[in-house]
Symmetry: C2
Subunit: 329 residues, 2 copies
């Protein structure tokens, strides 16, 4: 990203302007606005390092790039945690809704319907948090992609919650009419697969695993085909015996809801790949996605190797290169 | 928004630091990063005003707030235009898909299916544009809300496009089987209402009309009820005559797709209210939304009155208060 570099250059220029303590304080605020933080000599000295070399006539300072700003890290961490917690909640909602349907458990179905309110509140909370991060931290590059991915992904999670509610509503209706377990095998089967997809999409998000995310994308194709064949099977039931039309059609809505949940899991997986690789793979064929995924995996591996190298080389005491070693990206 | 005020205060402090030409240039870049732009005396003088008053010891400058930055304005304008163009495209897709179904016009249906590619590309283009705005312009307050609303809304538009494709696919299937215009009246009726909702949601976005947006939100309730009753009617058809089960069920999918389009139009309308009022009304009851809408309308009216007042009072020549009069929010 070209934008990531611009604040660096800009701040390097601005740094030349700082000539007294009061101005330092003002600029510290400016840096923070730009997502950077200042490190003053005194603090570095307290940690036992030699002083940072002075520039001619300008009070010396070293600038830690973003991510040594702890509160920015915390903000991103909180947003990601909110997202994953919400993800776990909707996954539980889906599981409960399917159980409620299969067991004709109206109490459990009502529980799912009533819990949707909490899911909605989680969406509002996360979106507010995201807005604050963008306004306050002005993220760029991969941070910005993560934030935008969370902002899009939260919609998918909320919709998964909505589909769980629809399944629960069908469960109530079917349990009230007390009949026709036609198509339950299909619901159970598709339900299991879709739940696994949601689980894996969230897992890929947690571990920044592009390969797992790609696997979720490919699974969506399988789900769609199985959904089609389950729907055809149900139509045959109706043609053979039209007495239970409304119940079988309700089961068809349930299958449709499951298929939609699969779509949303796929969307989340696409966002994982996007936030890691920078490639928007939403409308891309699988061959191209496979290439993107491989490149991203290789880059992740290389970055990890470098990080391990740095850790291995790190001296136990601070020397005058410490400040630059401590820079993280 | 508290954040809108912070850059102001910060920049006011930073302004005190500027003592020479070179530093001015560097700070001009800093201001731009923060979404502001500098106006130098020479330019103001060329427009015939008296020089901006000097501060003690500091070279005088006036800071125009955001939106006098023409390129920022253009960026927002371009994004909004892309959004509305994409909106028009999906509206056409929906109209064509319904026509294709009613007239059993397979050629038209195929056209809808093939055009989906363009819609998807528009989504990618707009999202890229949005990412650039956030990274480059670092918008705050109402600008940030607009950008986030566009980012969420583009997903709804794309999904409306997807639903149009589903309707077109059903049109192909039904025209191939060549039969059973059962439920066409319902499709026509619901289709007209949903198309109006999409049109009004986009219109509300164009004219920043919160009341029109609220009207769309309320219409969604009507659509949902009509969808329910249409579905019940179709179930009765099937029970009476199960020979055309698959066609009637296809029509039920079409009705479902129309109902989903209504949901997405409602989402867009909610985003209009959000971006104008700052209130997230997604999971809010109508009484509360009505209050938000009224307050937002009153504020818009007051702002318009002030703007007219300013225009009426504006002197033909610049005086020393010009700089502050020209500030826009």
């Amino acid at each position: 990203m070209v934008f990531a570099a611009e604040p660096d250059r800009l701040l390097a220029s601005i740094r030349e302007l700082i000539v007294n303590e009061e101005q330092q304080e003002i600029m510290a605020q400016a840096y923070q606005q730009l997502g950077f933080s200042l490190v003053n000599e005194a603090a570095v000295a307290r940690r036992g390092s030699s002083p940072v070399p002075r520039r001619q006539g300008v009070r010396a300072m070293s600038i830690y790039e973003r991510h040594t700003s702890k509160s920015f890290d915390q903000d991103l961490e909180t947003a990601t945690q909110l997202f994953l917690t919400m993800g776990d909640s909707v996954a539980v909602q889906v599981a409960k809704a399917i159980h409620a349907l299969i067991d004709a458990d109206e109490v459990l179905a009502r529980e799912v319907i009533n819990t949707d309110h909490d899911i909605n509140n989680k969406e509002l909370e996360l979106d507010e948090h995201i807005l604050l991060i963008v306004a306050r931290r002005q993220p760029t590059a991969s941070d910005l992609r993560l934030v935008m991915a969370l902002s899009k992904g939260v919609v998918d999670l909320e919709r998964i919650g909505d589909e769980a509610v629809k399944i629960a509503q069908m469960a109530c209706q079917i349990s009230a009419e007390g009949s026709a377990p036609r198509g339950y095998a299909e619901v159970q089967h598709l339900g299991n697969q879709v739940r696994l997809m949601v689980h894996n999409a969230l897992d890929a998000f947690t571990h920044l695993n592009v390969e797992q995310a790609f696997e979720v994308m490919r699974n969506d194709g399988v789900i769609n085909r199985e959904y089609q064949s389950a729907t055809r099977a149900l139509m045959t039931y109706i043609m053979e015996d039209s007495r239970h039309v409304s119940n079988v059609i309700n089961i068809m809505w349930v299958l449709r809801a499951l298929e939609r949940i699969g779509d949303h899991a796929r969307n989340v997986a696409e966002l994982v790949i996007y936030s890691i690789s920078g490639e928007d793979v939403r409308h891309t064929d699988h061959a191209q996605v496979a290439k993107t995924v491989q490149e991203a995996s290789e880059q992740m591996a290389a970055r990890e190797a470098t990080a391990n190298q740095v850790l291995a080389n790190e001296a136990p005491t601070y020397d005058e290169h410490t400040a630059s070693n401590e820079r993280k990206d």
